[in-house]
C-alpha cells in the first residue's frame, strides 16, 4: 500500500475504534446488580423488599425484637413509619435480607417507644434503622 493510503486506513481504524468504544456501555462495561428489588405480596398492595448483602451493609440495617409490656406490644419509635392515609407500619423480617411491612394499631407514642395492640407479635424482628430507605424502595422513589 502507499504511505498515504496506510495513513488514511490507520486513522479510519482508530476513529472506528473510538466510536465503538463510546457507543458501548456507559457504565464502563461493569455489570451492576441493583441493590434492592421488590416482590409483590399476593392479595395486598405491599411488597417484600429484597436487599443484597452489600446494600444491607451500606444501609447499616439494624433490627430488634418486639417486646411485650404492660402498655401493650412495644417497638422503638424509630421503627415506625406513617403512611399518608394515616396508618402506622413497621418493617419486619423472617428471612435474611427480606423485609416487608406490617401494620400496627392503635398507636400511642411515649418516651421513644411506640405501643400498640394489633400487629407483629412479641419476638418478631423489626427494623429500627434505615426504615425510610426501605420504605422509599417499596414506594418507588425516583421512578
Amino acid at each position: 500500500m502507499r504511505a498515504s493510503t496506510r495513513r488514511t486506513a490507520g486513522v479510519a481504524a482508530l476513529a472506528l475504534a473510538l466510536i465503538l468504544t463510546a457507543c458501548g456501555r456507559g457504565d464502563g462495561g461493569l455489570e451492576l446488580e441493583p441493590p434492592a428489588t421488590k416482590v409483590k405480596i399476593e392479595g395486598t398492595d405491599r411488597y417484600v423488599v429484597h436487599v443484597t448483602e452489600k446494600a444491607a451493609e451500606r444501609l447499616d440495617i439494624n433490627t430488634t425484637e418486639v417486646s411485650e409490656t404492660e402498655q401493650g406490644l412495644a417497638v422503638p419509635s424509630a421503627a415506625v413509619i406513617l403512611e399518608p392515609d394515616g396508618r402506622f407500619w413497621v418493617y419486619v423480617t423472617d428471612e435474611p435480607l427480606a423485609y416487608h411491612r406490617e401494620e400496627i394499631s392503635p398507636v400511642r407514642e411515649e418516651g421513644g417507644w411506640a405501643y400498640y395492640e394489633n400487629g407483629p407479635g412479641p419476638g418478631t424482628t423489626v427494623v429500627i434503622e434505615s426504615v425510610a430507605e426501605l420504605w422509599g424502595e417499596e414506594t418507588g422513589v425516583g421512578k
Binding site: 419509635s77 424509630a78 415506625v80 413509619i81 406513617l82 426504615v131 425510610a132 420504605w135
Partner: protein, 1059 residues
C-alpha cells in the same frame, strides 16, 4: 449609479423578475401577520398612579394621599414634563407626562423607584390600598367589552367568578394590559352592629372588632393578636418530617356567629353559664362592599368587563384571543351568560381592509382597462401592473421590517404613495414602450436593451428631483403640534417608505420586465394614441395667443381655488366611521348611585326600542383600576349601530332619546373621537390665566380679582372663572371641650364614626384559592340618613353612652367634587376667550396686566393656552416651510441649470393643486389630513411632469432644434403619452375610492382620492396647456450656462444611440 442599476437589471432580468414575484408574494403573506389597529399611538409618554381609598372623601384623599405622593415622591422624577392629579371620593389619580421621546420603560422605572417608598418615606397613612402604577396603555386602550349575566347566580357569585377565574385568564391573553370589572360586588362577611344591642350587654365596638378579628386566622389590624397568625410548624420523627397546617374553621356567617365575645381582657363573657356569642349581639350576613360604580345591560343588571390593551398591540389578535379564552372557560361557567358582542374595533379593522381591498382591486381593473384599451397593448399594461404590485409588496415588507402597526394613517400614506407609484410605472413603461415602437419602425438596429436603458434613465431623473421635492414638502409637518402633529407623521413615513421602494423598483423590475415582455412587440402605435398626438398638434398649431390661453387658464384656476378656501372648514382629526357609539352621561354633582343607575337603566330600555341599534351596555361611576376618573354621577352607554342601518340617521335617533333626559347631559361620540379629544384638545382661541394657591376661599377670591382686572384688556371677548363643581358634603368637626368632658379625643370620635359608617376590615377568609374580607360595620338602619350620623354612639372610656352629636358639630357644606392639581398645586383657571386680536398679542397683554397684581402668599400664576404652543409651532413651521421652499427652488435650478426656468417652474406649480381644492370643495368642503396628503402627492406628480417636459424642451434645443412654438409642441408630443396615460391611470384607479369615500376605512383615503382626481386634471392642464404656453414665451435661455450642457450629455449619448 442609476445606469449601473438598470444595466444590472437588464442583464439579470429573469432573476429580477423572480425576485419581484417573491416580493409580492412575501408582502401579501406578511399582511396577514401584521399588527393592525385603528389609529397610531398619539398619546405622549405618560404614567398614571392610582390609589384606592374606599370611603374617603375628596378632601381627605387630597390631604392624606395625593399631597404626600405628589410632593414628596413623584414631583422629583426625572424627565417629567407635567404632573397633574385628581382627588375624588375614594380615588387619588396622579398622571405624569414625560418629555417627548422618553422611553416608556425608562419612565416607568423612574416612577417605580419612588412608589416603593410610598409608605416608608412619604408616610402614606394606612387608610388606603397601596398606590398602583397602571399598566402602559394604548391611546385607544379599550379593545373589548364583555358582559356577564346570570339567572341562577347572584351578582356576588358572578363577581367572585369574574374576579378570580375569568379576569386572571383574560389577563393572560397576549396584548391585554388590564381588565376592569364594573358592577363588582365582592363577597364579604359583614358583622353589623347596632349601638342599642351593644349597649344592652355593656359592650362597645372594640369588643366586636377584637372578637371578629381574633376569630379569624389572619387580620391586618396590628393591634389584634390575629395580625400575627403564626406558622403551623413541623415535626421531625426519626424517619419522617410531618408538616402541620390549620384548616380554616370559619367560612359562613353562621360559623362566625358562634364565636364567643372577647372582652378587653381577653376573657369570654358568660350569661347564665353560657358564653355570649358574636351572633347574639350583632347580625352577621354575607353581602358586598359599598359600590363605587355599577353596570347595566339591555336585559338588566350585569357585570361589565372592560378590557384594555398595551400600546402597539394587534387589535384583531387581542379580540380573537379574548374570544378564545372566554369560550374555553364557558363550559366551566354553567349558568353564566357571557356576551362579547359590544364594541368590536376588530370588526371595524376587518371592514377597513375589505373595503380598501375592493377599492384597490376595482381600481386596478379599471386602470388596466384604460391603459390596455386606450394606450398600449395588453402587455405594456401588464408590465405596469406588475411593477405597481412589486412596489406595493416592497413597501409592505419595509413597513413590516420596521415592525410598524398597520392603521388607517399608514394605509393613507400608502394610498398617497400610489400616486407616485402609478405615475412611475405607467409613465416609465409608457416611455419605454414608445421608444421601442419607434425603434422598430425606424429599424435602426439599436438593441432593445439600450433603448430601455435610455428610456428608463430619461424618466428617472425627473422622478429623483420630484422625490426630493416631496420629501421637502413633508418635513414641516413633523414640526406641527396638535392633531396634525399626532397623525401626519404616520402618513409621512409610510409615504416615504413606499416611494423609496418604488424608486428602486422602477430602476430594476420595470426595465427587466420590459426587456422580457416588450422586447419583441410589433404592434404599431395604438390608434387612440395616434389620434391624441394628432389632435394636440393641431390644436397647438391652431391656437394663436397661446400665451394668453395659458395665462388665462392658470389665472382662473388659481383665483377660484383661492376664493374657495375660506369656505372650507379645517377638520384635522380623523373622523372614523365607527359604528360603535358612546353616550357620555353627566349628572349634577352629588347625584347618588341608585339615581344614576336608574337613569342608565331607563335610557338603556328606551334605546332597546330602536331598531337600528343593538348591543347596549352601560356603566356608571368607576371601577377599580379603570380608565374612568369620575364619581357616581357620570356614566357611559355603549351602543352598536346595526350593519344595515344608516349611520347618520341612527345617531340622530339616539340623540333624540338622550335629549329627553333633562337631568343628565349626554354627549355622543365614537371611542376614538373621545380619546382624541381627551389627549389632543387644545383650543387656540383661549388664553388661560392659571392661579395656583392653597386654600379654596383665597383661591376663589384671587381668581375673581384676576378676572376683574382682565375684563378690559383689548381683544378679550369674555372673561370667566372656570368653576369647580361642588357638592353637598357632610362635615364633622369635634368640639374639644365637649369631647373632653366625656374623656374623648377627636381621634376616638373619628374612628368610631368611621367603623359605623364606612366599615373596618378585620380579617380575611381564604377559600378555594380566593381571598375574602370580613368587615365590621354599622347596621344599615343606623346609617341611612344624615340625621343618623348625629345619633351614632361613641364609645367612651368610662362606658357612658354618648352620641356623636353631643361631642361634635355635624354640618352640611359645599365641597369640591374633584380636586385638581397641576404642578403639585391646586389651581383655578380664569378663561379669557379671544376676540379680534391675535391670541398671541392678547396673551402678552394679559401677562403684563397680571404681573401688576398683588398675589397672596404662596400663590402664583401662569399664562397658558393652546395659543402658546400654537405660536411656537407656527413659527417653527413657518421657518421650516420657508427653508423648504427655497430648497425646492434650488432643486429646480439644479434640474434645469437655469434660474429663469426654475422661477417659471416654481411659479407655475401651484396651479396643479387647484383642482384638488375644487374637488374637495364639491365633495366635502372640509380640509382634512387626507386633503393635505393628496395635495402633497399632486405637487410631487406635477413637479415630475414639469421637470420632465422642461428637460425635454432643453434637450431638443441642445441637440439642434430651433427654439420656437414647434420645439415646444414637439417636446410636449414626445412626452404626451406617458403623461396622459399616467393621468388616465390615476383617475381610473382612484375613482372607486372617490365613489365610496366615507365608507368604513375609506375616510382618509377617500379624501386623498378626491383631492388627487381633481389635482390630476389640473396638472394635466398645467402640463399640456399652461406650461407650453409660458415656455414658448419665456423659456428661451439665450446664453445657456455651459454647465447646462453637461446635464444633457447623457441625453446626447442617448440621442446618438437612438439615431
Amino acid at each position: 449609479m442609476l445606469r449601473s442599476m438598470v444595466r444590472f437589471s437588464l442583464r439579470f432580468s429573469w432573476l429580477i423578475v423572480g425576485a419581484a414575484v417573491g416580493l409580492v408574494a412575501l408582502g401579501a403573506m406578511q399582511l396577514g401577520n401584521a399588527r393592525k389597529d385603528l389609529l397610531p399611538e398619539f398619546e405622549p409618554t405618560i404614567v398614571e398612579v392610582q390609589t384606592e381609598a374606599l370611603g374617603l372623601s375628596a378632601y381627605e384623599v387630597e390631604q392624606l394621599i395625593t399631597v404626600p405622593l405628589e410632593q414628596d415622591l413623584l414631583n422629583g422624577v426625572a424627565f417629567l414634563e407635567e404632573i397633574e392629579s385628581a382627588s375624588l371620593p375614594g380615588l387619588s389619580s396622579v398622571v405624569m407626562t414625560f418629555e417627548p421621546g422618553t422611553d416608556i420603560l425608562d419612565a416607568r422605572q423612574l416612577v417605580t423607584e419612588r412608589i416603593t417608598q410610598a409608605v416608608a418615606v412619604a408616610g402614606l397613612p394606612n387608610v388606603a390600598d397601596a398606590p398602583q402604577m397602571l399598566q402602559p396603555l394604548s391611546s385607544t386602550s379599550r379593545v373589548a367589552l364583555v358582559s356577564l349575566s346570570s339567572d341562577e347566580l347572584t351578582q356576588i357569585q358572578q363577581s367572585v367568578l369574574a374576579r378570580w377565574v375569568i379576569v386572571p385568564n383574560l389577563l393572560g391573553v397576549d396584548g391585554v394590559a388590564n381588565v376592569a370589572i364594573w358592577g363588582f360586588r365582592d363577597r364579604q362577611l359583614q358583622v353589623l352592629m347596632e349601638p342599642e344591642r351593644l349597649a344592652s350587654e355593656r359592650l362597645d365596638i372594640y369588643d366586636v372588632i377584637r372578637t371578629a378579628g381574633n376569630a379569624l386566622e389572619v387580620s391586618p389590624l396590628t393591634f389584634l393578636e390575629a395580625s400575627k397568625p403564626g406558622t403551623g410548624g413541623f415535626i421531625d420523627t426519626v424517619n419522617q418530617r410531618l408538616h402541620v397546617f390549620h384548616e380554616q374553621t370559619i367560612s359562613t356567617p353562621d360559623e362566625l356567629a358562634q364565636v364567643p365575645i372577647e372582652d378587653d381582657e381577653g376573657r369570654a363573657i358568660f350569661r347564665g353559664g353560657n358564653p355570649l356569642l358574636l351572633g347574639d349581639v350583632t347580625d352577621i350576613v354575607e353581602d358586598h362592599q359599598p359600590l363605587i360604580g355599577d353596570a347595566h345591560c339591555s336585559d338588566g343588571p350585569c357585570i361589565l368587563l372592560v378590557i384594555e390593551k398595551f400600546p402597539e398591540a394587534n387589535t384583531p389578535e387581542v379580540a380573537d384571543g379574548v374570544d378564545d379564552a372566554l369560550s374555553a372557560l364557558q363550559p366551566g361557567l354553567e349558568g353564566m351568560e357571557i356576551d362579547t358582542s359590544f364594541y368590536r374595533p376588530a370588526d371595524y379593522i376587518d371592514s377597513t381592509f375589505s373595503n380598501l381591498s375592493i377599492a384597490l382591486i376595482v381600481g386596478a381593473v379599471l386602470m388596466l382597462a384604460v391603459l390596455g384599451l386606450a394606450f398600449f397593448d395588453w402587455r405594456t399594461a401588464l408590465v405596469s401592473l406588475v411593477s405597481i404590485a412589486a412596489s406595493l409588496g416592497g413597501a409592505a415588507i419595509v413597513l413590516f421590517f420596521f415592525d410598524v402597526t398597520l392603521n388607517t394613517m399608514i394605509l393613507a400614506g400608502v394610498a398617497m404613495a400610489l400616486v407616485v407609484i402609478i405615475d412611475d410605472s405607467v409613465a416609465g413603461v409608457g416611455l419605454v414602450s414608445d421608444r421601442l415602437q419607434h425603434g422598430r419602425t425606424e429599424s435602426n438596429g439599436a438593441s432593445a436593451g439600450k433603448t430601455i436603458l435610455g428610456a428608463t434613465i430619461d424618466e428617472r431623473r425627473p422622478a429623483l428631483y420630484a422625490f426630493f421635492i416631496v420629501i421637502g414638502l413633508i418635513v414641516p409637518f413633523f414640526f406641527m403640534e396638535g392633531e396634525v402633529g399626532a397623525f401626519f407623521p404616520a402618513i409621512a413615513w409610510a409615504y416615504l417608505a413606499a416611494v423609496a421602494v418604488a424608486l428602486i423598483i422602477s430602476l430594476t423590475v420595470a426595465p427587466a420586465l420590459s426587456l422580457l415582455i416588450l422586447r419583441n412587440q410589433h404592434s404599431a402605435e395604438s390608434g387612440a394614441v395616434a389620434r391624441l398626438k394628432e389632435s394636440y398638434a393641431r390644436r397647438r398649431a391652431a391656437s394663436s395667443g397661446k400665451l394668453t390661453t395659458a395665462l388665462a387658464t392658470g389665472g382662473v384656476l388659481v383665483l377660484v381655488a383661492l376664493l374657495a378656501l375660506p369656505f372650507m372648514d379645517t377638520v384635522m382629526r380623523p373622523a372614523l366611521q365607527e359604528r360603535d357609539v358612546v353616550i357620555d352621561l353627566e349628572g349634577p354633582p352629588g347625584m347618588s348611585l341608585p339615581a344614576m343607575d336608574q337613569i342608565a337603566a331607563d335610557m338603556v330600555s328606551d334605546l332597546r326600542g330602536l331598531s337600528d341599534i343593538d348591543n347596549i351596555a352601560a356603566h356608571v361611576g368607576r371601577a377599580i383600576m379603570s380608565d374612568e376618573i369620575a364619581d357616581v354621577n357620570s356614566g357611559q352607554i355603549w351602543v352598536s349601530i346595526v350593519a344595515e342601518a344608516d349611520r347618520d340617521s341612527a345617531i340622530e335617533d339616539i340623540d333624540d332619546i338622550v335629549a329627553r333626559y333633562d337631568e343628565v347631559r349626554g354627549t355622543l361620540s365614537t371611542y376614538s373621537e373621545q380619546r382624541i379629544n381627551e389627549v389632543l384638545d387644545r383650543s387656540a382661541d383661549e388664553v388661560i390665566v392659571r392661579v395656583y394657591g392653597e386654600d379654596d376661599v383665597t383661591l376663589a377670591a384671587t381668581a375673581d380679582e384676576v378676572a376683574a382686572a382682565l375684563a378690559d384688556v383689548d381683544g378679550a371677548a369674555s372673561v370667566a372663572v372656570r368653576d369647580v363643581a361642588d357638592q353637598e358634603t357632610i362635615e364633622i368637626e369635634v368640639d374639644i371641650d365637649r369631647a373632653q368632658s366625656f374623656g374623648l379625643k377627636p381621634g376616638d370620635v373619628r374612628r368610631t364614626a368611621a367603623v359605623y359608617l364606612s366599615g373596618l376590615t378585620v380579617g380575611n377568609l381564604f377559600e378555594e384559592q380566593k381571598v375574602f374580607d370580613v368587615v365590621v360595620w354599622g347596621d344599615p338602619s343606623i346609617r341611612e340618613t344624615p340625621a343618623d350620623i348625629t345619633e351614632l354612639e361613641i364609645a367612651t372610656p368610662s362606658g357612658t353612652r354618648v352620641s356623636l352629636g353631643e361631642v361634635a358639630d355635624v354640618r352640611t357644606v359645599e365641597a369640591p367634587t374633584v380636586i385638581l392639581h397641576e404642578s403639585v398645586s391646586k389651581y383655578l383657571d380664569v378663561v379669557v376667550s379671544v376676540g379680534d386680536r391675535p391670541a398671541g398679542e392678547v396673551g402678552a397683554a394679559i401677562a403684563d396686566r397680571v404681573e401688576t397684581l398683588q398675589f397672596p402668599a404662596e400663590f402664583h400664576f401662569a399664562v397658558l393656552g393652546g395659543f402658546a404652543e400654537q405660536e411656537a409651532s407656527n413659527s417653527a413651521v413657518l421657518a421650516v416651510g420657508i427653508a423648504i421652499l427655497i430648497a425646492i427652488y434650488l432643486l429646480f435650478q439644479s434640474a434645469f441649470a437655469s434660474w429663469r426656468l426654475a422661477t417659471l417652474a416654481f411659479l407655475v406649480l401651484p396651479v396643479a393643486v387647484t383642482g384638488g381644492i375644487l374637488t374637495t370643495l364639491i365633495f366635502s368642503r372640509e380640509m382634512t389630513l387626507g386633503f393635505v396628503a393628496g395635495l402633497i402627492a399632486i405637487v410631487g406628480l406635477a413637479s415630475r411632469w414639469v421637470i420632465s417636459l422642461i428637460r425635454r424642451y432643453q434637450e431638443l434645443e441642445f441637440s439642434g432644434t430651433e427654439f420656437g412654438p414647434d420645439l415646444v409642441t414637439r417636446g410636449t408630443l414626445d412626452r404626451i403619452v406617458p403623461i396622459v396615460a399616467s393621468a388616465a391611470a390615476l383617475v381610473a384607479f382612484f375613482l372607486p375610492a372617490v365613489v365610496t369615500s366615507g365608507a368604513v376605512g375609506l375616510e382618509v383615503t377617500g379624501d386623498i382620492a378626491i383631492t388627487v382626481v381633481g389635482g390630476v386634471i389640473t396638472s394635466l392642464a398645467l402640463a399640456l396647456v399652461i406650461l407650453p404656453g409660458l415656455y414658448t414665451r419665456w423659456g428661451h435661455v439665450k446664453n445657456p450656462d455651459t454647465s447646462a450642457e453637461d446635464l444633457y450629455i447623457d441625453y446626447a449619448l442617448v440621442e446618438e444611440e437612438r439615431v
